[in-house]
Symmetry: none
Amino acid sequence: MEFLGSASDASCITRARRRQTYDDSTEFKSKNLHAERRRRQKLSDRLLTLRSLVPIITNMNKASIIEDAITYVEVLQRDVKILSDQLLEMESTSEEKEKTIRIDDQINNADDHQEMKKNGIEEDVEVTKINGKKLWMKIVFGKKRGRFTKLLEAMTYLGFEMTDTNVTACNGAILVSASVERTYEDTLEIQETKELIQQIIRSI
Amino acid sequence: MEFLGSASDASCITRARRRQTYDDSTEFKSKNLHAERRRRQKLSDRLLTLRSLVPIITNMNKASIIEDAITYVEVLQRDVKILSDQLLEMESTSEEKEKTIRIDDQINNADDHQEMKKNGIEEDVEVTKINGKKLWMKIVFGKKRGRFTKLLEAMTYLGFEMTDTNVTACNGAILVSASVERTYEDTLEIQETKELIQQIIRSI
DNA sequence: ACCGACACGTGAGTC
DNA sequence: TGACTCACGTGTCGG
């Protein structure tokens, strides 16, 4: 029932200001005094860590800390919702786009590999050397829409210069024979060039 | 200094349990008694609204409420980070995809008539006679996806046999020069052949 | 009976 | 000075 207690330290939230230092020697009071102190300190610590998580702080008050935490939680929840919605939307549109591409692919370059193989023709790339800078190559590949143009583009882009090109299309296959030299490279490795062409064909 | 105060209501957080009802009639104490009551109530309200925002609640304790709020804020922050990262990644990959598609389009089917004409190149078909059964022809036409293949198909279908074909693609145009002879027809009219080729190009 | 959580009233500090 | 916040000690419920 007595009021004057025995509180020595009082760790405040706002600052380390010492307050209400009482005498501890006189009389010992309630048994739950220390427990209550611990409880208060725990709550203050929690409040402090909460405050450390909230970026925007208006006041150092307890109530303000909680208020700021409330608004921050609301902001975070809204952000999560917005972000997940955007992500969902993006995924769906991306899937649609993929689908469109697939359909596009199917419509455009419906590959005649079947027909080609049915007629006993197989893909083939042969490269032989004519001289140091010049190669001759024979390429047989399944007809796809735009595949030859792509091959030309790719080889032009890669610096190949094709001369005396001979192209024939029959039975769902395209045969290309051409002399090739690379513009800005003095040596042309046969195997390397062959693999490059195979890679181009595979990629288109 | 007196302890027995005048607290009538005590809105607890955990439940609406009435506690510590004191007598208000006896004596009036500190002036900040009401202010303190208001402050406590405000803080309790804030804590309650904060609790309403947190989905996972372990205990109804004040400290537990704040603790749960802390962990929840951490989870939300992590979620926001993860989501924004995913979104960013998706956007970049999507942009890459778009870019790929654009490049693909540019390579494939974007009819480059505009670019071709911009570069001073015009469609052209020239046919000259080599000998009775053999012609030489030069064809310049705007690049479209599959146009060359179609040209080859059409000419094969019409019985043309092309030898020494030279194909170049640049600036959105395709130039084809080739020697041509018709398999099962002995005479090849120059003007006729030229018009036929023009018709083929127009039709595709 | 013990222990934890709570609201209370109050003194003390700050602005 | 007054308005405000804070920590304190305490009584009192509930488990």
